[in-house]
Amino acid sequence: MGVLLELKDLTKAYDTYAVVDRLNLTINEGELRCLIGPNGAGKTTTMDLITGRQKLTGGKVIFDGREINGLKENKIVRRGIGRKFQVPAVFKDLSVRENLEVAFNRNPDPFANMLMFFRRTDKQRFDEIVELIGLGERLGEKAGFLSHGETQWLEIGMVLTQNPRLLLMDEPTAGMTEQETLKTSEIFKRLKGAHTLVVVEHDMTFVRQIAETISVLHLGKLLAEGPMHQIENDPKVREVYLGAEGISDAA
């Protein structure tokens, strides 16, 4: 398994304050990596830097052996990095089907798209994704009418439609009910192996359900990295992240 994504001394600073501070991270092909850390640890900023949403102030992002920092967002996406946002972002005025069809992006040229009607969409892949996210019954519905959980699944489906080599998921279970979280972890288990995933998550139950390797960020720096049991017992992590829990345990 080769290295797919490499962050080298990644830095984002506002004046003198570094939100992401010389972060080094390596993601292998086919891996499912969880990124955890307290609020303000720099998780979402890291995703913004990888996808070009924010400009980095130092370091490099190397994807598939090539430097991608400095490219425009849509170019980075076309290199094969898909992203699901923290606040679910779907097209509320379009139907579920149309949402997925927009995501199916073979040719991004506006004029080529004027001659395109959806029948050419890869039917098999479309059906697979609809089955995976479980929205087969709701294809004709406007996305604005979906529940919160369904909206999250739709966005996951949209990102999958592009068949990205690397999937960045920012808090995919935020605001979900327990049952919805369970279904989401089922989706993730099925994605594991076939896709490379980086998941930012707060919900530790969910992380336990899906995680192989966990990277802990703290104040923009990598604090610890390893499998779940190792992270849980790491004294540094307990101090900064699970600290409160540790204290309450002691009490």
Partner: protein
């Protein structure tokens, strides 16, 4: 298909039928014998309807609130005005009279190309398109959106208004250009009071509407509507949002350009009023009242509102003055009560018909 709401309004074949029916009905208007003057008024409505379609495209579907649709419209109108003026001029009398009164002794270089009708038409199409392309690229590359786009377009519109006013030797300033003769092309004179002109305007309206409708039903249309809902998400699906926005901005600009060209053919006159702020805002009101997510609604609203205005102005001067208040009232009422305009109301009502049928169906089966 369980749990799906299939409103008749969203039936694509039905939509195309409605559009074709609308244009057939409008095309039959002269057959019922309209006075030449009345026919000319109807030809103007077709131009207004094109402008409403233009706003519907850029704002309703593209999510770009342009208060500057008068820019391509006015530029095209001035190019057309110049073309028609030069059709009247001869090599012996090469300088339009307004230039003489402004003490020009030679035809200005910018006016030279308009000697040729075909070059004049090419410029009338090309100049606005070029300006809108540059303007669009500057705005959308910088990721301007929402109110900022509205302010920018308004500012540029007013810049052109001032230019048309102040460059008096070239534009005839406040008075405007009134070419003495109707437009002639390929040996055919197009009388502004004729059925031919009405059909040309209507034909052009039908063409731009049906092409727009087609474009909206293509994947391009869906992506453009997606950028309206959430530009960031579209960008992170790998599309260049600014590129799509420039294309839809220029496309809508081209519709307004065509409207500007036929407007001057219809009224034989062009003045800075084409660049006036209120006029560009009226276009937005027409589209909003009709329902900015519906080209059909925009056309109907533009025609009905302008018909109302003309009819009321005929009653008395008071009504003529009260019109603005009434239009403002209609606009506020639509914004508050019908945010999706008349088309939205129509969609809502059609929804009821569907439910009625569903309930009626089992009864019918039982009766059989």
């Amino acid at each position: 298909m369980t749990g799906q709401t299939q409103n008749l309004y969203h039936n694509k074949a039905g939509q195309w039928l409605c559009y074709i029916a609308l244009f057939v009905v409008l095309a039959l208007v002269p057959v019922f014998g309209a006075e030449p003057f009345q026919l000319n008024v109807y030809s103007r409505y077709a131009v207004y309807a094109m402008l409403a379609v233009s706003v519907s495209m850029v704002w309703g579907f593209g999510g770009i609130l342009s208060l500057g649709q008068g820019i391509p419209y006015g530029l095209a109108a001035y190019c057309m005005g110049a073309t028609m003026q030069m059709q009247y001029q001869t090599p012996d009398d090469p300088i339009p009279s307004f230039m003489l009164t402004n003490e020009l002794t030679e035809l200005p270089a910018v006016w030279e190309p308009f000697w040729s009708t075909s070059i004049g038409l090419i410029l009338a199409l090309g100049v606005p398109t070029l300006i809108m392309t540059i303007f669009g690229i500057l705005m959308f590359q910088a990721r301007l959106a929402g109110a900022f786009v509205a302010i920018m377009t308004l500012a540029i519109l007013n810049a052109f208004y001032s230019m048309a006013q102040d460059l008096q030797p070239f534009t005839a300033g406040f008075n405007g250009i009134s070419p003495p003769n109707p437009f002639t092309a390929f040996g055919v004179t197009i009388d502004p009071y004729s059925e031919m002109l009405y059909w040309i305007n209507l034909g052009l309206l039908a063409l731009v509407t049906l092409v727009s409708k087609y474009v909206l039903q293509s994947k391009f249309g869906t992506i453009v509507q997606a950028t309206r809902d959430d530009a960031e998400r579209v960008r992170f699906l790998g599309y260049s949002v600014s590129y799509f926005q420039v294309v839809v901005f220029v496309f809508a600009g081209l519709i307004a350009t065509l409207a500007g060209i036929v407007w001057v053919m219809t009224v034989q006159y062009v003045s800075p009023t084409a660049f006036e702020t209120p006029f560009s805002i009226y276009m937005v009101i027409w589209a909003a009242v009709g329902g900015r997510h519906s080209l059909f609604g925009a056309i109907v609203a533009a025609i009905v509102l302008n018909y109302l205005q003309t009819e009321l102005a005929d009653i008395s001067e008071i009504w003529q003055k009260a019109w603005l208040l009434l239009l403002g009232g209609i606009f506020i009422a639509v914004v508050l009560l019908l945010p999706r305009g008349l088309a939205g109301l129509f969609e809502y009502l059609l929804g009821f018909i569907k439910i009625g049928r569903r309930q009626a169906a089992p009864g019918r089966i039982a009766a059989n």
